[in-house]
Structure formats: structure tokens, C-alpha cells
């Protein structure tokens, strides 16, 4: 017979179990059927996952598809010092990490041995293969975090044109800034649920907005030509102890910029430590008084108006001419020079007299048509329009000073554009650095077409000017050092004193040379500007050799054949002579 005590115990246990189950059942029923919104929301919140799908910024490429800027997936390596201290592996880990990541061992040791800390970055932006080497070591307390970083494979090259994007991935200079809206893309969004192990459950994805990857921007620049130009500028900087130097190479017929370089330069991968002055894209943002190179525009205008002809003779006053009580001097004194010789010898007095003959109104009109005082509209941020006052602000002697490139300031790009217009039958082209924008699917979103800004001079005048500019690099001209073997080069030297408070500096000059080649059938225009070269300081001795250095390699690289005939130029000269009714004296 069963003991009564057992019966009671069993009954109590059964009752307890029953009550428990009943309680659970009641709670369950209450949870499911009662007012459970708050709990439901809590569960949903815990399971909810909302993730922004980060997109890569688009790449920047040169005209041949060489990558100039791109986003890379990298790893941030961080440590959990508490775990490392617990495992007593501080020294071991610090030595390995400092060796693999090329860090100062003392700094790593300090980071991984901070008691009470659970998170310390050891190194950010580590390349995947390097991170993999660290992972292979299986170091305790060392973890990896996915990240993306902007890299510039060519570092310093094209730094002023390419620019950089900041830590917030916003383009902050150069093309990165100018084309930010295309490059940045649009991040996607994914909303879903995760499981107990915090992993996303694929079939619980509620919403997925596809990301739009950043578009690729193709430039008109050629990274090899850029390399040629930058090397030439680097050696010029050293040779002439210059403060700065810059150069541009432009395709004559389309206005495409093939190279644009400025020195000093900076590393795009380390822009944070760069002085602001180094970041200045001088070819477009530095305006200077162009000096004698500007005579090209004034003489072209006068020729186009038919006011002077190449063979007309001008009295150059033996080097000193007083106009309105103010002296005007030539570097070398000349008695009488033809208009052609005024350009070849770079006579200030001759150019001033031509400008006076042209008249203030026409002078201003022509220079404005040449784009002086106005931005060219190139697709780069920070372009300066230069300084060119309207005629009502001119003094009585302004025309004589403007004729020799003073009282007016231009950027190197504006100056080159003027000369390229002469090379291009008088058509002033809009300079362009962006060739096209292609989206991630390979479709072209934006394509640049060459654009004509104006036509300041006629085809005949342009041809005559080409002939006259070729004489500058021939025997007796100021630009002989720009000549390359087998080719005819047209160009003009310029040496401008830098303005200082109360006048012009005696020692600080800007030496420049602007020209194009082959003179008979121009393909490319080049400008070289050197700021404060020492001890040589003239455009002919400083910038013209740099021009030659660039041009020599360029004709080989671009396979520009020499033109084995003088017909084109001699025809121009003849034409110029025919226009003239004889040797006039102005």
C-alpha cells in the first residue's frame, strides 16, 4: 500500500507542474492575444537591420585609361588591450605588429598595453594583403575592420589637376572637387532582419535600394606627357633655383589639355601635411604680368586691322622713348625695326607704337576677344580671370604698357590660349581637361566636345603671325633656345619684372616662353613659366630650354612628323609682303 505521504508529495508536484504550465500558458495567451504592441516592437527592433550600402567613389583616369585616383578596400586594424593583457602577450604582439605594419614599436606597445581599454586602433587603412599577413599570425585581441580609402597611384603626378577628396569623401580640390557630383555615386539601402547570431537573414530582406556606383571621369591629360613636363619642370626648378614653375601642353585644334603641371607639388596620398601654397594650381590660378609674350596679341590685332604690315618700319628710338613724359625702354636699343623684327627682337617701344596706332578702343576689343580678363571656362576649380581694366580706367600711357604685357595680368592658360588661337587659324578654343564621364555600367553620361570661344583674327592674319613667331626662334630672335632639330618652332619669350609695392622689382622676374609646333602645321602649344629664376632670368635663357626639353620628347611621343618644306611659312611671308604696299615708316 502506498504511503499517504507519497500521495501528498506527488499531488503537490503535479499541482506545481500544472500551475507552472498554467501560468506559462496564461502568459503565452496574454502575450499573443493581449495588448502586446510594446513587446512586438521590442522584438522587431532587436531583429531589425538597416544597412547603408556604401559605394566606391568613381575613378579618375587619363586619356588612355591609366588610373589616377581610385577607392580601395582596406582594413583598419584595432586591438583589444584587455584581452592582450589577460593573455600576457603584450610584447610579443607589439613586436610582430610593429614589424609587419612598419610602426614604431614603442607606440604599438603603448597602444596594446592600455589597461581597461577594449578598443585601440593600431593602424588605419592597411592594404588587404598586409592585413592578411597579420591575420595569419592569429594574434589574440587583434581585430580587423572593413574600410574604404581614396588612393592616388601616381602620388605627386598631376596632383594639382586631379585634386583630392577629404576624409568625408567629398572632393576638395581639382577634378575631385569639380566632378564630385559624378564621382560620389549614391549609396544604397538595405532593410531586413537578423537572426539570433546577428547575421542578416536573406529571405527577410524587406527593402533593397540598389546603390549607384560613382562614375569614372576620363581626362584629356596624358600621364606620359604629364611625366615629361613634370620632369622638365623639376630640373628647371633645381637648375634655376626658382621659386615656382608651371607649364601646360595643349592640343591646338581642340583645346584639349594634354598636360598641366605646377611646381612645387605635393603628395595626393598625404595632402593633410601640405602647405596651402603647394596646393595652388598655378597654370590657372596664378595671374602675372605676361611681359613680352603679350606682344603677340597686340601685334596680331594690329595686323588683323590692317593698320600695320610685317614689313612696316617703326622707329625704336635707340632704346629709350619718352611718351607723355614717361620713359619706355628696350632691353637692347634699336634704331629702326620692321613690325616683324619688333616681334623677333621683342622691342617694347615698337610694340607700344603699334598699340598706339591701333587705338585704345580696338586694342581693348581685340584683347577681350582673345579672352583677356575673362576665365577660359576650363573644368577646374579656382580659375582666375586675370586683370584687365576697362578702357575708362586706363591712363594716357596704358596702351603703351599693355602692349609690352604690363598693366594687365593673365594666367598661363589664358596666355597659351591666345597663342593657340593664332596657331589655330584664329579660332580661340575653350580649354578642356575632361574628356568624358562613364558610369559603372560603361555608359557615357557626359562627353566633352571642343568648343570655339571666339575668333579674334582671320585665317590670313593667323598665318602671318605664325610666320612672324617662327622668326623669334630663328637666328637673331630671342627664342633660339626653343628650337628642336628638324622642326620649326613658333613662339615668343617673355621676361616680366614682378610688381612690388611702389613699382617693379629689379631682381624678381617671371620668365616665360609660349609657342607651338610644328610652326607650319601646328599640333601642340606649350607654355612654360618660371617664377623668380636665378641667376639667369630671361624667358629666352630660362623657359625656352625647358620648352625645347618638353617639345623634343613630345614630337617623338605624339609621332609628330617634321614638315620637310618651307613652303607654308614662306608663303605666309609672301602673303604678308603682298598685303603691304611697300615699306612704310610709322
Amino acid at each position: 500500500m502506498i504511503d499517504k505521504r507519497y500521495i501528498v508529495r506527488i499531488a503537490v508536484v503535479i499541482a506545481a507542474v500544472f500551475l507552472s504550465l498554467a501560468g506559462l500558458g496564461t502568459r503565452l495567451a496574454f502575450l499573443h492575444l493581449g495588448p502586446n504592441d510594446e513587446f512586438r516592437q521590442r522584438v522587431l527592433r532587436a531583429r531589425h537591420v538597416e544597412k547603408e550600402i556604401v559605394v566606391s567613389r568613381g575613378r579618375i583616369l587619363d586619356r588612355h585609361g591609366n588610373i589616377l585616383a581610385m577607392d580601395l578596400a582596406v582594413k583598419n586594424i584595432f586591438a583589444d588591450p584587455k584581452v592582450i593583457l589577460e593573455k600576457n602577450q603584450v610584447r610579443f604582439i607589439a613586436s610582430h605588429l610593429s614589424r609587419l605594419l612598419q610602426l614604431d614599436p614603442a607606440i604599438v606597445l603603448d597602444k596594446v598595453s592600455r589597461p581597461g581599454r577594449r578598443f585601440e586602433y593600431v593602424k588605419k587603412c592597411v592594404f588587404e594583403d598586409k592585413a592578411e599577413e597579420v591575420r595569419q599570425l592569429g594574434l589574440p585581441g587583434i581585430h580587423f575592420e572593413e574600410a574604404s580609402h581614396r588612393y592616388y597611384p601616381h602620388n605627386h603626378q598631376m596632383c594639382h589637376v586631379v585634386g583630392f577628396s577629404n576624409a568625408q569623401r567629398v572632393g576638395s580640390a581639382g577634378i575631385e572637387q569639380q566632378m564630385n557630383k559624378y564621382l560620389k555615386g549614391r549609396p544604397g539601402l538595405r532593410i531586413g532582419e537578423k537572426d539570433g547570431r546577428r547575421r542578416e537573414v536573406y529571405n527577410r530582406r524587406n527593402l533593397e535600394i540598389e546603390p549607384q556606383e560613382g562614375a569614372d571621369v576620363y581626362l584629356t591629360l596624358d600621364h606620359n606627357i604629364q611625366g615629361i613636363v613634370e620632369e622638365a619642370l623639376d630640373s628647371a626648378m633645381v637648375k634655376h633655383s626658382a621659386k615656382a614653375a608651371w607649364a601646360i601642353v595643349q592640343r591646338i585644334q581642340t583645346g584639349e589639355i594634354l598636360a598641366m603641371a605646377s611646381r612645387p607639388a605635393y603628395s595626393l596620398n598625404n595632402y593633410g601635411k601640405t602647405p596651402q601654397e603647394f596646393m595652388r594650381n598655378r597654370p590657372i590660378s596664378y595671374v602675372y604680368e605676361p611681359g613680352s609674350t603679350f606682344k603677340v596679341a597686340v601685334i596680331a590685332a594690329a595686323l588683323n586691322e590692317g593698320i600695320v604690315h610685317p614689313s612696316d618700319v617703326i622707329d625704336c628710338e635707340n632704346g629709350v622713348w619718352y611718351y607723355k613724359g614717361r620713359p619706355l625702354r628696350d632691353f637692347h636699343g634699336y634704331d629702326k625695326l620692321s613690325v616683324a623684327d619688333v616681334l623677333q627682337k621683342s622691342s617694347n617701344i615698337g610694340a607700344a607704337k603699334i598699340a598706339l596706332t591701333l587705338g585704345d578702343q580696338k586694342l581693348e576689343d581685340y584683347l577681350r576677344k582673345f579672352g583677356v580678363g575673362k576665365q577660359t571656362g576650363i573644368d577646374l576649380p579656382g580659375e582666375e580671370g586675370g586683370i584687365f581694366h576697362s578702357r575708362d580706367r586706363w591712363s594716357a600711357i596704358s596702351a603703351t604698357r599693355i602692349a609690352m604685357g604690363h598693366e594687365v595680368a593673365v594666367s598661363a592658360l589664358q596666355m597659351l590660349n591666345i597663342v593657340c588661337a593664332i596657331a589655330n587659324d584664329g579660332f580661340l578654343m575653350k580649354p578642356m581637361v575632361i574628356s568624358k564621364v562613364v558610369n559603372a555600367k560603361g555608359m557615357s553620361m557626359y562627353e566633352m566636345e571642343p568648343e570655339v570661344l571666339s575668333r579674334p583674327i582671320s585665317e590670313d592674319t593667323a598665318a602671318t603671325m605664325r610666320g612672324l613667331l617662327t622668326r623669334v626662334t630663328e637666328e637673331g630672335g630671342t627664342g633660339r633656345r626653343a628650337v628642336i632639330e628638324g622642326y620649326k618652332v613658333a613662339g615668343k619669350t617673355g621676361t616680366a619684372q614682378k610688381p612690388v609695392a611702389g613699382g617693379y622689382s629689379d631682381s624678381a622676374n617671371i620668365a616665360s616662353f609660349v609657342g607651338f609646333l610644328p610652326a607650319e602645321l601646328p599640333e601642340v602649344g606649350i607654355i612654360v613659366v618660371v617664377d623668380e629664376p636665378q641667376p639667369l632670368h630671361t624667358g629666352g635663357s630660362v623657359s625656352a630650354p625647358v620648352f625645347r626639353e618638353i617639345a623634343e620628347e613630345l614630337v617623338h611621343y605624339l609621332e609628330i612628323p617634321p614638315v620637310h618644306t618651307d613652303v607654308a611659312l614662306s608663303e605666309n611671308s609672301l602673303r604678308a609682303g603682298n598685303h603691304s604696299t611697300g615699306r612704310r615708316e610709322l
Binding site: S56, N66, I67, M70, D71, L72, A73, F127, E128, D129, Y151, P153, H154, Q157, R199, E200, V201, Y202, N203, H223, N224, G227, Q253, T254, N304, K369, N424, D425, G426, F427, M429, E449, P450, E451, V452, S454, R455, P456, I457, S458, T461, E485, G486, E520, L521, E552, E553, H556, P561, P562, V563, H564, T565, V567, A568
Partner: protein, 131 residues
Amino acid sequence: MARKRKRNRKKQSAGYVFPTPLAGILVLAAVLALSYLWLCGRCEALGTRILELEKTQEDVHHRYLNEEFKWSVTKSRRNLRRALARHQINMVWPDERHIVRLPQPDDRLIYGSLPVPARQFAQHVGITMND
């Protein structure tokens, strides 16, 4: 001759016979339920697989970008120069006398005669002539 076995009519089966249609429905329901479970499991497995492949695709893309970057760095002008110097190779452009230029039918220059005017881009875009 064999005796014909007679059926005992008095002997009735006492147990309950499960109705065949109901059994069929239940079996069908069970099959459907199992199929649903199997499909559910399969979907989950596929979902996991898709997530894995998405990750793999991302990794491969990252690796591709890394390799592209390395290649860009390797073939940079500076590195090529260094490589040439390391192997003591001095590259120079050929002299004009050593170049043989083969004229193309559409070449701008007719060698030995007058140069043919270059294609003037600006004249094809219909601008206002202001000269």
C-alpha cells in the same frame, strides 16, 4: 475436391476502419507540410548561400581593385624609370634619321609636296565669324 471455405457471416470486425479519403487528405497535408518545411529550409540555405556569394563577390571585387591599383603603381612612369635604371637599360628616342615614316592615305602631309591643310575642327562647328 477441395472444400469451399465459407465466410462466417456472423463474424463482424469490431475495430474502427480509418476512412481512406481522410487518410489521403492527412497524408497530403503531411506531404505538403513536409514540402513546405523542406522548401523553407532550402530557401534559408539558399539565402545563406546568396549572402556568402555576395560576400565573395565583394571580396573578389576588392581584390580586383587592389590588383588594379598595384598594377597602376607598378607601371607608373617613376617606377618604370627605376626598373630601367636597375637593369641598366638606357632608353632613348630614335633619331629622326632612323625613323621610317610610312605615309597613310589619309595623312595630312603628302610628302615631297605641299602640305594639305589640316582638318580644322572649328570650321565644322558652325560658329559666328567675327573677324
